[in-house]
Symmetry: C2
Subunit: 132 residues, 2 copies
Amino acid sequence: MKYIEKLRNSGLRPTKQRLQICEVLFNSEKTFHFTINELDQKIKKQVSDKISLATIYNTVHAFEKKGYLKQIPINSNQTYFDTNISDHHHFYDLKEEKLIDLENADVGPINILKKINGKKIKSVEVLVKLED
Amino acid sequence: MKYIEKLRNSGLRPTKQRLQICEVLFNSEKTFHFTINELDQKIKKQVSDKISLATIYNTVHAFEKKGYLKQIPINSNQTYFDTNISDHHHFYDLKEEKLIDLENADVGPINILKKINGKKIKSVEVLVKLED
DNA sequence: TTACTAGTTTATAATGATTCTAAAAAGGTG
DNA sequence: CACCTTTTTAGAATCATTATAAACTAGTAA
Ligand SMILES: [Mn+2]
Ligand SMILES: [Mn+2]
Ligand SMILES: [Zn+2]
Ligand SMILES: [Zn+2]
C-alpha cells in the first residue's frame, strides 16, 4: 500500500483507519482546506467503514505533528487544516468564509527586519482578507 | 469624560460599564494584546464595580465592530484582541505563547500579485512564528 | 418630573468544538 | 500463539462563546 511506509517511517502504525484517512486526505489531485467536521463528512462519503470522531481528531493531530498537515492561523470557531504543506499563504473570503491558496510566488518576497533576541523564525504566513 | 463623545459618535450609549472598559483598554500608554479572560482579570483589578462577563463579551465585540479593537488571526483556544488598531503584523512566540507587535516598517512592502475576481483586499496580516 | 422607548446589562442556560477517559481492539514481535 | 504497546472508540467532561429573557438605564419628549 501507498501509505504504509510513510506511516511506518513516522513511527505511526499503519492502521486501517489511518490508511483510509490518508486516502481521503492525500489521494486527490488537488490539495484542500478543511475543518474536522468537513473531514468527518468527507470520510462518511468516501469510506465504507465507520471511523469515530475521536480517531479523526487523533489522526489529524498526529499527521499535523509529523508535518503531513498544516494548521491555518485564522479566527474561526473551528480549526482549519491544509493538505498543502508547502510554504504558502492564504486569501480569506469573508463573505463566503472560504480559504484560497496564495502561492509564495504570488506574494513579493517578505523580509522581516525586526529580530527577537534568542528566537528564530519558524514560519511566515500571510492572511489576506477579501471583501466585495 | 474622555470617551463619552467617542461612544456617542459610534452610536453606542456611554454606559458606566463601557466607560470603565474604555479606561482599561485605552487609557494606557502602550497598546496590548488580550483574551477575554485576561481582560476580565484586568477589569477585576482596575475597576471597583463588577462587570459581568457577558457585558465584557458584548463590549469587546461592539468595539471590534466599530474598529476600536482588532481581532488577531491566530490558532488558539481563545480569541486574541489587540488595542493597536494600526495596520501592523505579529510575531508569535510558540514557547511563551505571546504575541509581539511587528510594525509595518519592520516588514518589507507586501505586494499581493494574485487577484480574485470581484473581490478587493480588506487587510493583509503577517504572522511570524518564533521558536528557540 | 414623568412617561415612553430602545438600548444595555446581567445571571444563567445552552451550544458546540475539542479533549479526556478507560476499556476493548489491533498491530508488531518473537 | 503470547505478550506488550499503540490505537480506537463511545461517551463524558471541559470550557470558550453565544443565546435568553428579565431587570435596568440612557435619552428624549411631553
Ligand atoms: Mn490542535
Ligand atoms: Mn468574536
Ligand atoms: Zn492552503
Ligand atoms: Zn498587535
